[in-house]
Subunit: 345 residues, 2 copies
């Protein structure tokens, strides 16, 4: 790491471009993180540092999608991800999900929606907006099925290190790479590491995909931000990891606080979230459509929530997303206002 | 600007996302730069801060290109730019150019290659690899023609502020916005401002395109790097501009040094460059193909040049690009080595 910094400091430009795949020292540090956090040995050669997780999706979809390919994506899901697929001509198949599968794809749904044109699937676990993960055994089964049918798997793990335990097994949350070495996983420095505005992420891809990722990065944005990459080298010290783990613990406390508060209000949470910083709430009992609920909560209680409509169409009108990326005191105040608001509905 | 910094410092996250279009203070500063550098009044509302000029191209091509659209691009030209067009399904028409049009599109070539399917054109001025600009009157005529035929104009001006005078008129180099307010221009903090590794750029677009640019940025990368945007606020002080102008003068001195050196060697430069930091050299007199010339110069003289093949196919085998983004002493040494090498060919 020191040699890397000295090399950069000695160059003509104080902060020149890095290689398209990222600073070698950062790729090594990320690979080391898979070892320390997940007990997994990943070659640094497979790590692609990207301009945010967004750019990891950009490169992966550019590399994997041909016009007309069908791609399976769960509904509800983070809306931006599917835009990369559509942008490169994919036919995005939104697969309806519900509480019975934790608002995530399961093997049965994947099999039912599979066609001869299906070329891949995209899963985010834990998910935005629901904060729920695909159970490990289920994700392994889905990936196995897709692999056996020649389809690629993009697994968005930007909230993985903010999830606690696997819902089914009680084991620590695990990356898809643990059971599907051929999966393409993406991750971010914005969530667990808290470098939100720095726009830095990464992908781990199969060896054979690395050259395409490098050429695409060279053409699409040259490299991720050099100062952001240099700053990110500091993420992997024991001191930084201790700070990140404390933040993760804080998120767990906020989640408990929010779930208790919602129970007091009488707003059901169909699936208890296990990660990220979202709770997906069923507001149908209030008699209000989710969009109307959010509009009125904002206007009458000054509480900002996001209607299910932003994330798809399946069950959208019944659900709203609450983000607990806010202080406990703000969350308490928000919940108190929400309670008064719901009482007036 | 102070209020902007205080607002950010007071937020929960030290460096959160900015709005998708960029920090308001930075959009205002960029608009002000068009006034001070080009005497042009541009509304800050039309300025879109992007994650490098690359992302400006990404957003613009996503907004403007439909599959099957024909787009005219000069050959030679920077190869990455046309990949954005191809990525969104455009049919890129590489228009051969030569020294008679300064290796740039001219109105006559545009008219000859126009078809009913032509939806736009992309011009970089000054150009990488040639360092030559489209004369102002010619560019105005091209833009007029395209506008009259309902086609969009993307003008890549990342080297504009490193160009000296218009080749035909002797007037200061001018942005296309001065004569085509409906053009989409892109620019960068990497060249004139020297923030190379920070990955920050901008676009100025017509009012009616701003909402699409905002939605695309939200979906494709949320926002440009927050620390890069905050750092860039410092670019527009008189002290910073003085530093940038001194660097521009330094580039002019290097260009003169390189052109003199090449004349001494006997390597012709078909069109004297007027900007950027490139010289496009005709090596056909050596009897070597450009690719072979570059390979041998690298291996035998340890001088790195780029073969024309990297930029297109028209005249590619005859030309090599020299970059003078290096110190004058390194350039003198490189030219001395090149002279000895050419003498042995």
């Amino acid at each position: 790491m020191r040699a890397e910094l000295q090399r950069i400091a000695g160059s003509h430009t104080p902060l020149p471009y890095t290689g398209a795949l990222g600073l070698p020292a950062l790729r090594e540090a990320i690979a080391g993180f898979y070892q320390s956090a997940h007990g997994l040995s990943i070659s640094p050669e497979r790590v692609v540092v990207t301009a945010g997780a967004s750019a990891a999706l950009l490169l992966l979809t550019a590399a994997l999608v041909d016009p007309g390919d069908e791609v399976l994506v769960g509904d509800p899901s983070y809306p931006c991800n599917r835009q990369f697929l559509s942008g490169f001509g994919a036919d995005v198949r939104l697969v309806p999900t519900d509480a019975s599968s934790r608002f995530q794809l399961d093997l049965s749904a994947v099999q039912r929606h599979w066609s001869t044109r299906t070329s891949g699937l995209m899963i985010a676990t834990p998910s935005n907006p629901t904060g729920t993960s695909v159970p490990r055994a289920e994700l392994a089964a889905i990936c196995d099925w897709a692999h056996a049918h020649g389809a690629w798997r993009i697994v968005d793990e930007i909230y993985l290190n903010l999830s606690d335990v696997d819902a089914a097994s009680g084991q620590p949350a695990q990356t898809a790479l643990a059971f599907d070495p051929g999966a393409c996983v993406i991750n971010s420095f914005s969530k667990y590491f808290g470098m939100t505005g720095w726009r830095l992420g990464w992908a781990v891809v199969p060896d054979e995909l690395v050259p395409a990722m490098e050429r695409l990065a060279q053409n699409y944005y040259i490299c991720a931000s050099s100062p952001a990459q240099m700053a990110a080298l500091a993420c992997f010290t024991p001191e930084s990891i201790a700070v990140c783990e404390a933040r993760k613990q804080e998120f767990a406390e906020r989640r408990a606080l929010v779930l208790q508060g919602l129970e007091d209000i009488g707003l059901p949470v169909p699936v208890r979230p296990d990660g990220a910083f979202y709770v997906y709430i069923d507001v149908s009992g209030t008699g209000l459509d989710a969009m109307r609920f959010c509009e009125r909560a904002l206007q009458e209680a000054h509480v900002a929530l996001t209607p299910g409509h932003d994330f798809g169409s399946c069950g959208a009108a019944k659900h709203v997303r609450l983000s607990y990326a806010a202080s406990q005191s703000d969350l308490r105040e928000g919940l108190a206002r929400l309670k008064r608001f719901v009482a007036t509905v």
